[in-house]
Symmetry: C2
Subunit: 351 residues, 2 copies
């Protein structure tokens, strides 16, 4: 078994720096587009055979060290009772937008093995098909990031409605966040029970806040999930699965993020990784952090960037290589293949 990724998550010695890539199962791969051409996006998410198929594609094509299940962070929104649609070329559409007591009260905390069983089935299928070749990463959106989609009804430019709820009606926001947090906790617990060997909590929009607001309105809910999962894992499992917390636009928030209780921290590309490590503390495991768009550089320039990130990462207790955000659809796949090879080659300990 290639357990380099899990060892790095735990801060153990590894022969080379493991790498996986956010959205590695995605539209930049012709093999993905072939599957996607026959099914719409939500059908792919909800059909374990299809979800598993595209999850496995990058394992062979890229030679990455972990398989992140193919799914979407908005799946729990639908399970909570909100309408969810994806339309070609547009962002997701969630309806009704959750902005008042009535719509918040109608949401429920679902049993994940009931309404989101297809996700757990995907994980079970992946574990079987991978047969321990590489570990399976499960994931969920963080409560705040999930809430932004539910409140805005989709993507947003300045998150006006989300921040207005927080600032104008904090008790309504708290009620909503309590429901989302309970949902995500059970969802991740179900993923781990189904066989996920690590989980990542995506807080893509966590970075829209001042440190004060992040500490008050974002972090407590993430902490609650991590605390509960860790408490549960300590009684149920011989070895708890690592929890990675990824926040977009982390640079001003690292001191806060550190207190989340996660085992590893995803860092975006807007800060030098050594600076991030200094502020997180050198006892941490970091994940990142090349600009996804740097995949358009010529390969010799990509190699310079890889060397730079590896060198800056050396002060951390552990490092998992990744992009600072998801790979974009227009990316030349051959550059991603080359990236994985470079990370493995340049980080390999010899002698």
């Amino acid at each position: 078994m290639n357990d380099t990724f899990l060892k790095a998550c735990r801060g153990e010695e590894v022969p080379y720096t493991p790498i996986w890539i956010m959205r590695q199962a995605g539209r930049y791969l012709p093999e993905y587009r072939a599957v996607r051409g026959k099914s719409d996006f939500l059908t792919m998410c909800k059909t374990p055979e299809l979800a598993a198929e595209v999850t496995l594609q990058p394992i062979d094509i890229l030679n990455v060290d972990a398989a992140i299940m193919f799914s979407d962070i908005l799946i729990p929104c639908e399970a909570m009772g909100q309408g969810l649609e994806f339309h070609e070329g547009k962002g997701p559409l969630l309806s009704p937008a959750i902005r008042d007591e009535e719509t918040v009260n109608k949401l429920f905390v679902p049993d994940p093995e009931d309404t989101m069983k297809f996700v757990m089935d995907t994980i079970r299928l992946l574990r079987k098909e991978l047969a321990d070749k590489v570990p399976v990463i499960g994931f969920a959106g963080a409560p705040l990031t999930t809430a932004t989609y539910m409140i805005e009804g989709g993507t947003s430019k300045n998150f006006l409605n989300t921040k207005r709820m927080i600032f104008e009606n904090p008790s309504l926001y708290k009620t909503l966040m309590d429901k989302i947090t309970a949902t995500i906790t059970e969802y991740l617990r179900a993923q781990i029970s189904a066989g996920a060997q690590a989980v990542q909590i995506f807080d893509t929009w966590g970075g829209i806040f001042s440190p004060t607001d992040f500490r008050e309105h974002v972090l407590p809910y993430v902490k609650r999930i991590i605390d509960e999962l860790k408490r549960w894992m300590s009684t149920e499992m011989s070895e708890p699965v690592p929890i990675i917390y990824f926040v977009g636009e982390t640079a001003g928030l690292l001191e806060e993020i550190k207190t989340s209780g996660a085992d590893a921290f995803g860092v975006d590309w807007r800060i030098n990784l050594d600076d991030a490590i200094t502020r997180l503390g050198s006892d941490v495991i970091v994940q990142g952090n090349l600009d996804p768009l740097s995949m358009f550089l010529p390969q010799d320039k990509i190699e310079e960037r890889v060397k730079d990130v590896l060198s800056r990462a050396s002060s951390a207790r552990g490092h998992i290589f990744n992009l600072g955000h998801g790979v974009v659809p227009q990316t030349p796949p051959e550059n991603v293949v080359a990236l994985v090879e470079m990370v493995h080659r340049l980080s390999r300990k010899t002698g």
Copy 2:
């Protein structure tokens, strides 16, 4: 004359912390909407009487310490030869998108007193009408931020085309940036000649880069503008006007931004101001940094935030209060009025 703002820009002693607000002349004010109801946005920019009228509105309504001329950072794009349109409820539309040698070569470096004379006329009118009541701030977009609009043809989510040009065709990017930089330099020189008493360079999208790319592809052009303006001012003026450099999502880039040569640095809300000052160095003048959306808080909570920012700013050589980005159209104007009063009252040196 209320020269508190200019004194703070120069690091001189001030009786209280001056404040102005990005987009203080804007849609959140009913008085602005009354003028805007009769003219489209570009006509307002191009009619000195209208631009001056809305520039002056917040001076009396808010009691701010500086008047920023009403205009748009995309005015120079049109002057360089690109089509510019604003459509209600959408972002700006620039055409054709500048993405190849042909479109770059067609752009020219305009004489600002010819193609953008209305801006200078607005400044001259403002100086006359204000009669030194408060200083007039001129502004321009930074070269990179201007380039993103020109290359993307408008706003963008991940700046794919801009970064692709930088990473795939750096010499074309450099040609484009050289033209933009020359245009912005002459434009700001003309604004200062027309009477602007300070200028702000807006690098709203500077923060989309890694520190490495920011240093290589963003900063040199800003430095060139600042160096040229300072060299020119030192020979032409007894007292050079202060140059403020504002970058969006600054948190990972402060060490780079510091080297720009600007007199003051705009900081967004995603970092605590004391942390920003530590990283910029305590010899700096900072401007900022409340989240614009915090204007939806109840006024007692806004007051807590104001106290916090003022306290965190105390380690800098100088502080100009501002929001971390433009005030949004939905903002209750009475909260902005209250904000200005709070900043003045809470920062006033007594005894």
